[in-house]
C-alpha cells in the first residue's frame, strides 16, 4: 500500500516537473545513442563527398568543373587530358533507357501481384523478382557475357546489322559494331536489374491506396481494371514516380555488370550496338592502372560527379513524392 502511495507521489512529482522525465539514465543513454548515430550518418555522407572532392580537386582545378564534365577527350596515356562527358553521356543514356524499358513491365508485374494474382502466385512471383535483386551484380555480368551477349549478337544485332547493310547503309554508323558487348546489351541488363526495385516500390505505392478508395470505385460499378485506372493508379502516382526515380538512381550507380558488358570504349561517338562506357564502369576499369596522379584525381572527380548526380536524383524523387503524394484524401 505504501509503495503504491510512493509511486503515485513520484509520478506526481515527475509530472509537475516534466523535464525530470528526460533525466532518467535510460532515456539519456537512448537519446544520446540515437542522436549520435543519426549525426554520424550525416557526417559520413558529408565526409565521403568531401574526400571525393578533395581527391578529385587536382583534376577539377586543372580542367575546371564544367571543363571536366563537358570535356570529350579521355586520354590517360599520351596527352593526359581528362574529360568525363563520354561517361556522363553513357551513364545517362544507359540508365534512362533501362528505366524506360523496365518501367512498364515492372508496373504491370506490381499491379498483377498486388491486385490480380491469387496470394500463392503473387508470393512466388514476388520471391522470384526479389531473387533478381539478390543475385550479385558480377554473377549477372558473367551470365551476360556467356549467355545474353552472344544470344543478342546472333539473334538480334547481326540480323539487324545485315539488314541495314543491304537496305539502309546510312544507318550503319548509328548502329555500330554488333559484337555483342555494348550499349544495348548493358542497357538490357540494367533494365533487368532494376525491375525488382521499381516493382517493389510500385507495389508499396499500390498497397498504400486506402481500401475505401477501391471500394468507392467498385461501388460505382467499376470493373477491376477500371478501379486500377480510376482509383489506384492516380492515388499511387507519387509513389510510383518516386520509385521509378529511385530505380534510376540504382541504374546510374550499377557498376560490375555494366563494366563487364558495355565493351569499355572511352571515346565518343557511342553507337547503338557498339561499345561505350559509364562513369562507374570507367572507375572500376581504370583505378588499378591509374599511375598518373592526374589520372587518379580525374577518376575521383568522376566519383564526385556521380555523387552529385545521385544526390540530385534522390532529391528529385523526394520532391516528386511530396508533390504527388496524397494523404488522408487531400492532395498535398
Amino acid at each position: 500500500m505504501s509503495t503504491d502511495k510512493d509511486t503515485r507521489k513520484n509520478i506526481r512529482k515527475l509530472l509537475r516537473n516534466p523535464s525530470a522525465i528526460y533525466r532518467r539514465p535510460g532515456d539519456l543513454l537512448f537519446t544520446f545513442l540515437v542522436v549520435t548515430l543519426g549525426i554520424s550518418i550525416i557526417l559520413l555522407t558529408l565526409s565521403m563527398a568531401f574526400v571525393l572532392y578533395g581527391e578529385g580537386s587536382a583534376a577539377l582545378r586543372e580542367f575546371g568543373f564544367f571543363g571536366f564534365v563537358r570535356g570529350t577527350t579521355w586520354d590517360p596515356a599520351v596527352q593526359l587530358v581528362f574529360g568525363a562527358w563520354p561517361f556522363l553521356l553513357g551513364t545517362v543514356t544507359t540508365s534512362v533507357m533501362a528505366l524506360l524499358i523496365s518501367i512498364l513491365p515492372a508496373i504491370a508485374v506490381a499491379i498483377f501481384t498486388a491486385e490480380y494474382a491469387p496470394r500463392w502466385l503473387a508470393n512466388i512471383i514476388d520471391n522470384l523478382i526479389q531473387l533478381i535483386a539478390a543475385v550479385p551484380s558480377v554473377v549477372i555480368g558473367i551470365w551476360g557475357i556467356f549467355v545474353l551477349a552472344p544470344w543478342l549478337r546472333d539473334t538480334v544485332y547481326l540480323p539487324v546489322f545485315m539488314w541495314a547493310e543491304s537496305s539502309y547503309p546510312q544507318l550503319l554508323p548509328i548502329l555500330g559494331n554488333p559484337m555483342g558487348y555494348g550499349m544495348t546489351t548493358a542497357t538490357i541488363v540494367l533494365a533487368l536489374m532494376i525491375v525488382p526495385y521499381t516493382t517493389a516500390l510500385t507495389k508499396d505505392a499500390i498497397r498504400s491506396v486506402p481500401q475505401e478508395q477501391r471500394e468507392a470505385c467498385r461501388a460505382l460499378g467499376a470493373t477491376r481494371w477500371e478501379v486500377i485506372r480510376m482509383a489506384i493508379l492516380p492515388y499511387a502516382r507519387g509513389g510510383i514516380l518516386a520509385g521509378a526515380i529511385l530505380s534510376l538512381g540504382r541504374a546510374i550507380g550499377e557498376t560490375m555488370a555494366v563494366a563487364m558488358l558495355i565493351g569499355n570504349k572511352n571515346t565518343l561517338p557511342f553507337t547503338i550496338f557498339g561499345a561505350g562506357a559509364t562513369m562507374p564502369s570507367v572507375i572500376v576499369n581504370e583505378f588499378r592502372e591509374a599511375v598518373e596522379s592526374l589520372h587518379l584525381s580525374s577518376l575521383m572527380a568522376i566519383g564526385f560527379t556521380l555523387f552529385i548526380i545521385a544526390l540530385i536524383v534522390n532529391l528529385f524523387a523526394a520532391y516528386l513524392t511530396r508533390k504527388f503524394s496524397i494523404k488522408g484524401g487531400q492532395v498535398i
Binding site: R119, E212, Q213, R214, E215, A216, C217, R218, A219, L220, G221, A222, T223, E226, M230, A231, P234, Y235, R237, I326, G329, Q330, V331
Partner: protein, 302 residues
C-alpha cells in the same frame, strides 16, 4: 440430408450463444424473460400498405472464413422507403448492408449464402455481373471518398464515364442535377473544376452522395454516412436523405438511434449476427416486441 445434419451440429452452439447473450443482458440491467435469439424466430412481416418490394433478402448468411457475420436474415426492403439498420458494434449491420451490392466479392475470405433479390432477381445468381448490380445500387461510405486527383466535376461524373458516356452536354446536365440532389450545387457551382479533396468533410460526403446519385441508382446503401461529420453537416445530410427518399430506396446503417428514429420509415434491429426485430420505425421505438430491442433502444446496452 446434409443440410439437416449441419443444422443439428450447429444447434448446441446456437444455444450456447443464446445463454451467453442472456447472461450478458442480465449483467447489464434487469431483463425480462427473453426468448432465445435466433434467426428462426423472425417471420417476415407482410407487405404493408400495398408497397412493393424493391429488394429482399432470404436466409442471407455471410461468413468470414468460419466466423459468421450475419446469419439467416430474411428482410424485405420496400420501394422508396428509408430502412434503418441499427444495433451495437459488431452486430452485422454493415456486413448485411455490404451483401446488398455484392461488396463482399472483394473480400477473399467472405462467403455469402442465401438470396438477395433485386426486383425479384437474385443478384448472386450465376449469370449476374456484380458490376451491373453496383451500377443500380449506389453506396455511400462512413468516410467521404472523393477521388483525390479528380475535380469536383470529374468526381460526380465518374460513374457515368465508367458506362462510356462522353457527351459533354449530358455530363454537364447530370453533374448539375446530381449536385443539386445532394444539396451541394450552390456551394460549388463556381469551382466545379477545383479538386474534390479541397472541400470540407461534410461537403466531401455530399460530393460522394452526388457521385453515387449521378448514375441514377434504384437503391442507395449508406454505411453510417454521418459518423465522421460535425452536427451541422449531419443535419444537411439528414435533410438530404429525407428528400431523396421520394426518388430512391435507401438503406442506412447508423449507430445513432435518434438518427434512425428521425430518418427512417422502417427499422431493423441486429444483434450478434441476427436480425432480431423489424417493423415500422414507430413501432420499433415505441412498442418493441423483443426485450433485446427495447433494451438497446432504451440505451441499456450497445
Amino acid at each position: 440430408m446434409l443440410n439437416n445434419s449441419a443444422k443439428l451440429l450447429k444447434t448446441p452452439f446456437t444455444h450456447l450463444k443464446d445463454i451467453s447473450n442472456l447472461l450478458m443482458h442480465q449483467a447489464s440491467g434487469p431483463a425480462r424473460a427473453s426468448k432465445p435469439v435466433s434467426g428462426v424466430t423472425f417471420t417476415p412481416e407482410p407487405a404493408s400498405g400495398g408497397k412493393k418490394f424493391r429488394m429482399q433478402t432470404r436466409n442471407l448468411t455471410v461468413r468470414y472464413g468460419t466466423t459468421i457475420g450475419v446469419e439467416d436474415v430474411t428482410l424485405p426492403i420496400y420501394d422508396k422507403e428509408v430502412l434503418a439498420l441499427i444495433g451495437p458494434s459488431g452486430c452485422g449491420k454493415t456486413t448485411y448492408l455490404r451483401a446488398l451490392n455484392r461488396m463482399h466479392d472483394l473480400t477473399r475470405i467472405a462467403s455469402v449464402t442465401g438470396e438477395v433479390l433485386l426486383d425479384g432477381t437474385d443478384i448472386y445468381g450465376n449469370d449476374i455481373n456484380p458490376v451491373n448490380i453496383r451500377r443500380r445500387i449506389g453506396m455511400v461510405f462512413q468516410k467521404p471518398t472523393p477521388f483525390p486527383t479528380m475535380s469536383i466535376y470529374d468526381n460526380v461524373v465518374a460513374g457515368l464515364k465508367l458506362v462510356g458516356i462522353r457527351k459533354k452536354s449530358l455530363l454537364d446536365e447530370v453533374c448539375e442535377r446530381a449536385l443539386k440532389q445532394a444539396a451541394l450545387f450552390e456551394e460549388v457551382k463556381d469551382r466545379l473544376r477545383s479538386p474534390g479533396a479541397g472541400l470540407s468533410g461534410g461537403q466531401q460526403q455530399r460530393l460522394s452522395i452526388a457521385r453515387a446519385l449521378a448514375v441514377d441508382p434504384e437503391v442507395m446503401l449508406m454505411d453510417e454516412p454521418t459518423s465522421s461529420l460535425d452536427p451541422q453537416s449531419t443535419n444537411r445530410i439528414e435533410e438530404l436523405i429525407h428528400t431523396l427518399k421520394e426518388q430512391v430506396t435507401i438503406v442506412i446503417v447508423t449507430h445513432n438511434m435518434q438518427q434512425a428514429a428521425r430518418l427512417s420509415d422502417r427499422t431493423a434491429f441486429f444483434y450478434v449476427g441476427h436480425l432480431i426485430e423489424t417493423g415500422t420505425t414507430n413501432d420499433i421505438f415505441t412498442k418493441p416486441k423483443e426485450t433485446r430491442t427495447e433494451e438497446y433502444i432504451s440505451g441499456r446496452f450497445g
